[in-house]
């Protein structure tokens, strides 16, 4: 069994959602994660709120938030257990972030701490 990170990307982090909308998204996200956890395949998860975020550039310039030059922003990530990348992809397909046009979920295998991978 491998572990995969499912990284949720939003096309436009500048969009502002209403509290009701955010609550509905939260519910959908919890239903998605709950479905994975019900299969005993959930490892961990981290939400990444946009407020209080900064971007540090190569010349140590600090800008507010992951906005502006960077088009896509990461909304959060979860780590799941899966036998193959295909199984991880099946989990990713259920992610509610994908309801938004242009949003993506990136599936990445997590390197094992065995000095080889």
């Amino acid at each position: 069994m491998e572990e995969y990170a499912l990284i949720m990307r939003h096309e436009d982090g500048k969009k502002v959602a209403s509290p009701e909308q955010i609550q509905e998204w939260m519910k959908q996200t919890m239903d998605w994660i709950g479905g994975i956890a019900a299969q005993d395949k959930f490892v961990s998860g981290t939400g990444l709120p946009f407020d209080d975020s900064r971007v540090v550039h190569h010349n140590k310039l600090v800008t507010n938030g992951p906005f502006g030059d960077i088009k896509e922003t990461i909304g959060g990530l979860i780590v799941v257990k899966a036998k193959s990348v295909d199984e991880a992809v099946e989990f990713a397909k259920g992610c509610p972030v994908l309801h938004g046009d242009g949003n993506t979920v990136e599936v990445r295998r997590i390197a094992k701490d065995d000095g080889i991978h």
Partner: protein
């Protein structure tokens, strides 16, 4: 009169005397503590029928226990004086009386709870020891509760006591830094004692309910102490109140089980339900959300018989969170049932099939329930599979009843 009085006192006092004694003598003398406590009750059995019941029976028992303890200590002190005179420490042992005040009984029980639920001891043994030492159940009662023989329980307790001695477990409260972890072990054990009573297959209804009541009493010990009165302890107590409120309603006339959806809610104990709600409120402090919080939250919603959108929405979200922090097949199946209430059976069936629990009979009961409105044939098939997978007679009977109901439904 003493015929009923002595068993009653045994149930109420034996475990107190053993616990205080054991703390007094040290965990390595657990057997002796049990012997002295048993002899104390034997003395009552021998003396009361002839001399009459003393005016204060409990004080009488305590006085006898104190004497017997003093004799035991004198004997073992003489022994150590003769055999090991070079051990200076033993020469200075001051003879202190057994302290059987309410406060010391409570303190001793709490410390003993932490000693018996020590991480170095297998959880099965923790349960057995707690039932025996802290709750005063007899070997036969414990065996009945676990649907097993006295030999098995005796062996289990023997090994558990050996472990306690080997691990040199101290009868004391854990340090502040170790408290969170140790408390978790204690709560797990008490929860298992409760479940043993609540879900056991044993027909001995009295024993089963008293397992539950004793588990609740042990939680109250924790709630009464500032260092252990933590949010998750309140949450677990709330959960037990909600469950216990259904004791009467879940028993049929022939002693058969009545499932939650078919229960007559007028038999639910409203007093316990409101107590549960009260403790759940008290649990809502701090930043840690334990699985007991979530399970108590789910049990709270189940005290409302009426199906509302809010109810099933909340239950689904609670199961989502519960599975994230602690997976179990039961939670996975119950979540899927909640999902069917919120999003409909088609989505729920899809999700159920991903659970990979097809060797679990509850999985097939769930699928039968989901299919029952849209495909009766499939529902019956799943119940047939469930019936072959079910291990106990009462489970098989419940499933057969469901098959009959489905077949005769229009």
């Amino acid at each position: 009169m003493e015929q009923q009085l002595i068993p009653h006192l045994f149930r109420a006092e034996y475990h107190k005397i053993v616990t205080v004694l054991c703390r007094h003598l040290g965990i390595e003398h657990l057997d002796e503590a049990e012997d002295i406590a048993a002899e104390t009750f034997l003395s009552a059995l021998e003396s009361w029928p002839y001399k009459g019941v003393p005016p204060n029976p409990i004080a009488w028992l305590y006085a006898v226990a104190k004497n017997k303890t003093r004799n035991f200590q004198n004997r073992s002190q003489t022994y150590s004086h003769r055999i090991a005179p070079e051990l200076k420490g033993d020469m200075n042992v001051t003879e202190t009386d057994l302290d059987l005040t309410d406060q010391n009984i409570k303190d001793s029980q709490l410390q003993m709870l932490f000693a018996l639920c020590h991480p170095s001891i297998p959880v099965e043994s923790q349960i057995g020891l707690s039932l025996r030492i802290l709750c005063g159940f007899g070997i036969e009662e414990i065996a009945n509760g676990f649907l097993t023989g006295k030999d098995v329980i005796n062996k289990r307790l023997f090994r558990a006591k050996e472990k306690l001695r080997e691990a040199k477990v101290q009868i004391e409260m854990p340090s502040e830094s170790a408290m969170t972890q140790r408390l978790e072990t204690v709560l797990t054990t008490i929860y298992l004692v409760f479940n043993e009573g609540y879900y056991s297959e044993s027909n001995d209804e009295v024993i089963r309910e008293s397992f539950c009541h004793e588990a609740m009493r042990l939680i109250r010990l924790l709630l009464d102490n500032d260092s252990t009165n933590q949010p998750e302890v309140n949450a677990l107590y709330a959960l037990m109140c909600f469950h216990a409120s259904r004791f009467k309603a879940r028993k049929g006339q022939n002693g058969d089980m009545i499932l939650h959806a078919d229960q007559n809610e007028s038999l639910w104990d409203v007093e316990l339900i409101s107590q549960g709600a009260d403790y759940l409120n008290r649990a809502s402090t701090g930043s840690k959300l334990s699985k007991y919080h979530l399970e108590a939250g789910i049990a709270y919603w189940h005290t409302k018989k009426e199906d509302t959108k809010e109810k099933w929405d909340s239950i689904l979200q609670l199961y989502n969170k519960l599975l994230i922090i602690s997976y179990s097949p039961v939670a996975a199946l119950n979540r899927t049932f909640a999902l069917s209430k919120v999003k409909g059976v088609t989505i729920a069936i899809e999700e159920a099939e991903k659970l990979k629990l097809s060797d679990n009979h509850f999985y097939h009961v769930l699928l039968a329930e989901l299919y029952s409105l849209i495909n009766r044939r499939k529902a019956v098939d799943h119940l047939m599979t469930a019936s072959t997978l079910a291990k106990t007679k009462s489970d098989k009977e419940l499933i057969q009843k469901k098959i009959q109901l489905l077949k005769t439904r229009d």
